[in-house]
Amino acid sequence: MTVTNKVQVNQTQGVNHSTDWFTRVATFSPKFLLLLLIVPVFGGLIGVLLPAFGWAPALNQYSVGLQGFNALWQTLGLTQMISLSIATGLISTVLAFVITLMILAAFFNSVWLDRIQQILSPILVIPHAAAAIAVGFLIAPSGMVSRLFSPWLIGWELAPHGIFPHDPYGISIMLGLTLKELPFLLLMALGALAQPELGKKLRQQHKVALNLGYCPITAFFKVVLPSLYPLLRLPLLAVLAYASSSVEMPLILGPNTPPTLAVAIMQWFNDVDLNLRIKASAGALLQLALTGGLLVLWLLGEKTVKYLFCESLTNGKREYGGTYWQIITAIVTTLVIVFIALALVGLVLWSVAGFWRFPATLPDSFTLIHWQSAVMQIGEPLFNSLLIGIITTLLAIALTLLCLEYEQIKGKLLSRFTSLIIYIPLLVPSIAFLFGLVWIQQLITVQVSFISYINVIIAHLLFVLPYVFLSLASSYRQLDPRFAIVAASLGTKPSKVFFKVKLPQLFVPILIASALGLAISFGQYLPTLLAGGGRISTITTEAIALANGASRRTSAVYALMQMLLPLIGFILAWVLPKFIYKAARR
């Protein structure tokens, strides 16, 4: 009788006087989550702030001053680095956002939207590095594009000297980032529209606008977008922050003289001349300011757009050349899909290509030797990828579930502060705080052989947690609370309710979140490289190391392996429930 009362009181009034161990763990979990995120991120930021001003005990430097910044300002081509970072970050984000809006507007409420989603969503699980390698192959002078048009159209008999993919303007980086972020933004928008209440409301209002004579595209921009945008803001800011500070794409697709700021910082940090690290720390602060500035710029742009177009929402104009936009969108969407498909086909062809002369569209001969030699060497990186991925994902899932359970015990959502902190690793440039983290790790030298693994797992967790949380939260919050109440009223302990009643209902969402967590972990480059001190090699670090040096064929094999790992995860998440339910029904 007491159990019944207690649980129902907990559910409805948020009073917690249970002493059950499970409840205590769950109650503590949000605090632990905050600790786990705040300490590395803010600790890392402090860890980069101090050396930037000359205080670096690890280098026996204690003279506080601006020498790091002085060295930074004197760097040749710094202005170009900054412009390159700003241009690639901003333009790729704007492009991805604009194409997302065009697709949504042109195909709102049509079957095509689902089809486009089905085609583009697998791109989401492709790690940035693998996508960059594929795009690089495609636009290279001897890549698929020029092969398809040579020699019959452009008359090239020999591969020309082109500027792609390492063009000095960053066009290749923008292309790669846009193609990678477009599916993410589109999926985020469709996820928001899939919320039962909001989605239904917006679809009905779109219909009302059509009845009032609005062309479908205008109806989307005047009726749906104002309500949809607030839900896209955080993903957009995360995309902008990533695009302006990531190293994977610029390393593989970017120029080297000079590179983007983030890549330059990384090179200074890894330089044999340890004194460059002071300059690198100053650079990390500059990167922080740059990304922060871009985020502020975006928010200001938002306000400006709102101010400028506020009037025209109600001016009664119903048509802005909708037919043409419809055609343009169809062409752009087709181009994007064809481009991605060609990039993937090219990657597969390279990985099995024997001799492949230009401008032949297909290799002259096929061979599995690249795969064979890669498989021989892949043991350790594969083991590391799996070990780190699985441990990180398990931790992330457990912590997320406990935090969500805490919400139900307390009967209210996590505080706004906690929800914001969960997304902080996505908004702060990782290159800034990860280096600080490395400084700290070097201060606290623990003599354990597997310490670098622990460091890497903590670093991965920062990026895996937000996505796992995003993925699980809506399913957990939609659980019918009556099941738990019924179970509790039969005298079941809270821990048993959690494990025996709630988790089985969440089996599929947990599998999907796990696959997502694994995919995110597999794709991490910078956290692995830095937190592991360069000693831990994974498929991704190998793929990037090989991308600029080794042969295209080996590089293609590694890029494909990078794609295969997350793909296997998602296939398992999709197939396992079917088998298990089938077995259970027997």
Binding site: A209, G213, S227, G316
Partner: protein, 212 residues
């Protein structure tokens, strides 16, 4: 000129199964009432008339509006206004914004004056700048009505528009809507479950049977 909405030899199918047959003409100021259980094809009929028949449904026959065949005209060019059972006001716009959204483009000052006049006529004076979420159910229904009327439709469809209002409000709103339909001489087609709606409409009533 006499306005009219004509449904010519309509046969509506769901996965090749005949849902309903209809051959009717509604003249301006008249209200044709359709009654029938759910599943009888009432909503599909309205969807077909607005040009938004969902996949899985097919239709044969034609719809004519003021002697123009609009069967193949896309939804947003039909000039057929709809009142739904929910007001479906745009929550990112004010009351005046909702109405202005529906009005044809034109001189800003004249549009504002027209909105003020219309709000006053329907007893909504002073609510122009209010947020739509802060209105009562009856006020929301009246704003939705104004929104449809000021979009200058050539015909109007009523999709159980009063079913969510309580009884006194229901009668008042219904009287207002019917009065406006007659005043603007619009052909109207109403779908309802409620016999009192049908009686108040005072027009022809067609009862649909559930097809098996």
């Amino acid at each position: 000129m006499q306005t009219s909405l004509q449904i010519k030899n309509l046969q509506l199918f769901r996965q090749n199964e005949l849902l309903l047959r209809l051959n009717e003409q509604v003249n301006g100021g008249e209200i044709l009432t359709l009654m029938g259980p759910s599943g009888s094809g009432k909503s599909s009929l309205l969807n077909w008339l607005t040009g938004a028949l969902p996949t899985g449904f097919t239709a044969e026959g034609e719809v004519w509006l003021n002697n123009n065949n609009i069967t193949q005209v896309p939804a947003h060019l039909r000039h057929v206004g709809v009142l739904y059972q929910d007001a479906l006001l745009f929550s990112h716009l004010s009351v005046a914004g909702n109405i202005a959204f529906a009005m044809p483009a034109g001189n800003k000052k004249q549009r504002l004056e027209k909105i003020e006049d219309a709000l006053e006529q329907l007893g909504l004076k002073g609510l122009a700048d209010r947020h739509t979420d802060n209105l009562s159910g009856g006020q929301q229904a009246r704003v939705a009505l104004l929104r449809v009327l000021l979009s200058e439709p050539k015909a109007i469809l009523l999709d159980e528009p009063f079913s969510k209002l309580d009884s006194q409000l229901r009668e008042d709103t219904r009287a207002l809507v019917f009065e406006q339909i007659r005043y603007h001489q619009l052909p109207a087609l109403m779908v309802t479950h409620d016999h009192s709606d049908a009686k108040a409409a005072g027009g022809k009533v067609i009862t649909l049977n559930k097809t098996e």
